[in-house]
Assembly symmetry: C2
């Protein structure tokens, strides 16, 4: 991409010069022939690169750029984090110094992250997936995808990640946001060159690919990157977009893993969290029951987590003290939370019971260990090594006083509310990875318990086939993260991340069970955030609400809306524009018959008003007649209406059309006459009425 841009810029320049230069001007410049040849070449390259519809190189560039950003970020974060470890070691045996070095680092980083990101843009905080989901339904969120905020989010996210497992936040959500920013920017470059044919659906295509690349470059997982981004951002999907996402995500994931090889982290391209479970006999048949039991636990815990998280997010906004802090002094809020979290995880106090010396990556790696901890800890020494031993990460979980079951339980209990607290911090941060690790800890606990109860495997006959608790950690991670985000592709993500797929059926069963429970009782994490943030949102119609088939559009449509007649004058239009804020207005033949002619955009009306106001200026195109005599039908372009609802269209059908076509509003006509308008607001209200029928009726 870096190599492409100057070329493109000069290509554009050449084009402009060619159009602007007149024959007599051209002769002034030296070497006209050579220049013409160069121009011809550049033109040819431009034609090849910017053929309408052919944009695989944009997708390629998107993947490669995001892989570079992801790799550079990981690299920086690991350097900053190891500096923290070094500092913590070097301060010696003074507990106060140790405490200060442990807590001040995350406090400073999170304060900087919050302050820097928020000072540049208010959209930098949080995940980004809820907003992207809203954008993909057709809502225009101004500035959200502006490339200017890219740097703020990158720097902020790097600081957040450098806090490590103390703050316990991840990378996926902001990466999806970053990736969509790049996608939108590349799309804009393309549109500026290719012109008018690149319409809105084209931009959406690019955003969808961006979301896929975002996930794929974080985990090096192309297939599940595509599927996960589809599941969390869309309700309908075009197979064409899926192919494009695949291409882009594969390029990104390949580049991401390639960089790791070039950096000598790995010998060859391998999975990010490579596991080595035994594959000759991965699990015994009766273990399927345990996996399903694990799915039930993950589903129930995810319901509790989602409920508490949404409640607490609302509470923080309602409580006067925290609300004022969040409104006025965001960095201070981050500092307070970070101090609280890092005090708790201090390794000389409570932190020793929750493996707080491990980084996020080490936490996941340790939980996915193919060995059985309860067996290992029986034969191990009682003392923990002074530094984390990368080949024996499990030692951080081993504690002679409360055993590994104790540490896992402490971890689960404490991280539950600590994670909820961390999600309220107004800095760029992802919430998928912590949830994934939390799920792995649930699975590890269940797996270790099973291995403890059945030390030689379940089946008494035949050769002993001991239970692998690491496989339960894998299933738990997939099931818990899947049920929190309401997606099934986390199962595939777990396989792509670990490079092993032998446990596919039990893991899928656990994910299905957990999802069934979570989808029944709670909105997903992202939908919950959309609700709390009051973003435009179209709830889905639950299939048990059969009323959606009988409620017709005429029962919920809005009949009180502004209509413009073809012969509307300056004053009519002025009144309409000033009294309402609709984005488009229906135009009818006259106010009595109200036959729908088409719609007119608000922007066109404003422009119309401005040209009428500037009537004193000479107006060549608009003829000589006095402009104030002009009416709407003569002065503006009326766009035709493709889709009109009928008063008898059912709620179900209207909802389906809005969802499928990403509509924002639709007019209701009866024999060509406009009788109402339906927007997402009316639909939402009608759906909510279905769920909570009014007692009066």
């Amino acid at each position: 991409m870096a190599a492409e841009r100057p070329e493109r810029a000069s290509g554009e320049k050449a084009e402009n010069e060619k159009n602007v230069l007149l024959p007599w001007e051209e002769s002034w410049r030296p070497w006209p022939k050579a220049r013409r040849k160069v121009h011809g070449c550049l033109e040819c390259i431009k034609r090849q690169l910017f053929r309408v519809g052919d944009d695989w190189y944009f997708l390629f560039a998107l993947g490669v750029i995001m892989a570079l950003v992801s790799f550079a970020m990981d690299f920086t974060v690991s350097r900053v984090a190891s500096a923290h470890v070094w500092l913590y070691q070097e301060v010696g045996g003074y507990p106060v110094l140790k405490f200060l070095s442990w807590t001040m680092y995350p406090v400073a980083l999170s304060a900087f992250s919050t302050g820097f990101a928020q000072s540049i843009t208010q959209h930098a905080g949080g995940s980004g997936i809820p907003e992207l989901k809203t954008i993909l339904t057709g809502v225009i969120l101004e500035e959200y995808l502006a490339i200017e905020n890219f740097g703020a989010k990158v720097v902020g996210l790097t600081c957040t990640l450098a806090c490590g497992s103390t703050i316990f936040l991840g990378k996926v959500g902001p990466f999806v946001h970053l990736s969509s920013m790049i996608a939108a920017y590349l799309g804009k470059i393309r549109t500026s060159v290719c012109g008018e044919y690149e319409n809105k659906s084209k931009q959406n295509e690019m955003l969808v690919a961006g979301a896929a690349v975002g996930v794929a470059t974080v985990f090096g997982a192309p297939i599940s990157g595509v599927l996960f981004s589809i599941e969390v951002t869309s309700s309908h999907f075009a197979v064409r977009d899926y192919w494009r996402g695949f291409f882009s995500a594969t390029c990104g994931a390949f580049m991401f893993r390639l960089l790791a090889v070039f950096n000598s982290e790995q010998e060859t391209i391998m999975a990010l969290f490579k596991t080595s479970f035994k594959i000759d006999f991965p699990f015994d048949l009766p273990e399927t029951v345990f996996f399903m039991f694990l799915g039930v636990i993950c589903g129930l815990l995810s319901c509790a987590y989602l409920f508490c998280q949404r409640w607490f997010l609302g509470y923080v906004r309602r409580n006067p003290f925290t609300a004022r802090l969040l409104a006025m002094e965001k960095p201070l809020y981050s500092v307070l939370v970070a101090f609280l979290l890092s005090s708790i995880t201090f390794p000389l106090s409570l932190g020793q019971f929750m493996a707080s010396r491990l980084s996020m990556k080490e936490l996941l790696t340790s939980l996915l260990d193919n060995r059985t901890w309860s067996v290992l800890s029986q034969n191990a020494s009682l003392e923990r090594p002074p530094q984390v031993d990368p080949s024996n990460l499990w030692q951080e979980w081993s504690d002679p006083s409360i055993t590994i079951f104790g540490t896992l339980s402490v971890f689960l209990v404490m991280k539950f509310w600590m994670l909820i607290l961390a999600t309220t911090m107004p800095m760029p941060a992802g919430y998928f990875m912590p949830v994934f690790i939390y799920g792995a800890a649930i699975g590890r606990l269940v797996g270790e318990a099973a291995a403890f109860v059945f030390p030689g495997g379940i089946t008494a006959e035949g050769p002993p086939s001991p239970i692998t608790p690491g496989a339960y950690a894998l299933a738990g991670a997939a099931a818990f993260s899947g049920s929190v985000t309401h997606s099934l592709s986390t199962a595939l993500l777990a396989f792509e991340m670990t490079g092993q797929i032998a446990h596919i059926l039990p893991v899928l069963l656990a994910v299905l069970v957990a999802n069934a429970i979570a989808q029944k009782f709670q909105p997903s994490f992202y939908d919950g955030t959309i609700i709390v943030k009051k973003l435009p949102y179209l709830p889905r119609i639950r299939s048990r609400h059969i009323g959606s088939y009988t409620v017709t559009t005429q029962e919920f449509m809005d009949t009180d809306f502004v209509i413009l007649a073809q012969e509307a004058t300056f004053h009519d239009i002025l009144q309409a524009v000033t009294t309402t804020d609709a984005q488009e207005y229906p135009v009818v033949d006259n106010a009595e018959s109200r036959m729908l002619l088409g719609v007119i955009q608000r922007a066109n009306l404003v422009q119309f008003l401005q040209t009428r106001e500037d009537a004193s200026l000479p107006q060549k195109e608009q003829g000589e007649e006095p402009p104030s005599g002009r009416t709407l039908g003569e002065g503006c372009t009326i766009s035709p209406v493709t889709l009109q609802l009928s008063p008898w269209t059912s709620l179900h059908q209207a909802h389906h059309l809005f969802e499928l076509l990403n509509l924002q509003r639709a007019f209701v006509t009866q024999l060509g006459k406009v009788v109402g308008i339906v927007t997402r607001r009316e639909l939402r209200k009608a759906i909510e009425d279905l769920a909570n029928p009014k007692p009066a009726q």
Copy 2:
């Protein structure tokens, strides 16, 4: 399911009885109280099972039924095939007897398969995926999903599969068809109980799940089953359908593998074609280039295959001799082709050079072997064992005179045209598995060549890391089958089938490269079949055809169509119904103003005509006035029109709407007045005109 049905039947019966029985009738029967309690219980169960929208148990039943069918079929096929092997061994050393026993078996089986299936239904032949794809676009193919044909297809397919690698056909396509039959049948049961709310979109949802289950129960691969079925049958899909497919496919795949464990084929649930490639260092980085080269080869070969296959399918239908055979004597055609194919694969002649003693499963297993054949064959004895050795399947490919490279080349050259010939046989058969095996052979050849050239691995430094030709076979299978079917999920299928995912990135790259080449030059196998079979088909608009944005609906809409006025009389309607065969007619207020009121179904019109003809019979609901005076507006229900195109809607937009909403026709209105109609025929013509612009214009 088997346990559910009687219960449901009695539940219905109970319901009917309850409605029909009058008080005095009820007292005639014994134990009225006990019966009422039983009725109450049954009603309660019915309410629980048949709640509108809650149909996960139907999806569960679908998965389990198909798993049972798939397992039973595999079991039968393996028994029949081993009987063939036994027979071939037992006839002793007489070449004539050996030849007869080798050829007569597949000849008889394919003749029976063709004759039996075709005698019951004409839809039994071929794959089924092209037809399902057509049905999912909203076209009604009468009788195609009738459950009555289930048996014919099952028996026919079992015979086809029992022919083994001689005929070289597979199971996927017909299984997708069988699964959709079951899905449609379950959907019908549901509709008959739940009533009117189960509309067409509900039926489609069930069919989509059916397709996923079909693929999943053949390979025991739930995730790629869902993805593959989406890619080959849809252009858009709803995330909701994807979840349902996932659930059903997981149930199916789990059951399918569970049965294998119960049947003692395996110790525990494992992949169908489990491989054991080394995972510590799966491949060296420079090998990525070889994998991409393999992708190029697979892409080019798939183009050649698709072209020849389509041409030959057309030739067989044009050639008078074969056309008559196929029309009149289908079994005879199958007999001739089967005899030709089995003569060529006779193991004492040409068959010895193409591993013809292996079954389809053994072929794939042998090609995915993790050992290097060229190394093995150097140390092996020259003589082939008299029987196939299951642990050394590669021996069938080893030949001292032409080496393994020779046998692989012979296999590739011969099977190319043999497979094309086999696809013309009019019996139930799938074409995915042969293509998958063919691709594996391509990959094995490339991999063995690479291992031969670089015996100690590519990188000279460090420990030796020899090339694994089996991984190339995996990539080749995914790339070739992916490019023939225009799908990317074959990569995932390859991992799910083998239980190893370490080669994900190189395999994905190969699949992407192969797909890019194939999609550029040829329609997919299924689209090609749709074209040859002349099924309704909406071509996609290639992105380079920017004319689709400028061509407007008024340029290609049909203006010559029948309109019914509200006051149309018996004779007008009779004329309309007899002169045209449209499925629905637009109704306007009167013939001059032509304001669109709605549409009326052909069936309603026919009913209207019939009731008018039977005017002499007493008609309570229709009042006492003479029926002949009635007009259309009074006697029929006019349905409202939700979607109307405008004359200025672009071709691109119209195509998008047709694809997204599965429309069959749309009316074009201007200020409420009907000015034209657009069906898929007009759209298709307009798109074809874009690709081949008329020279006159």
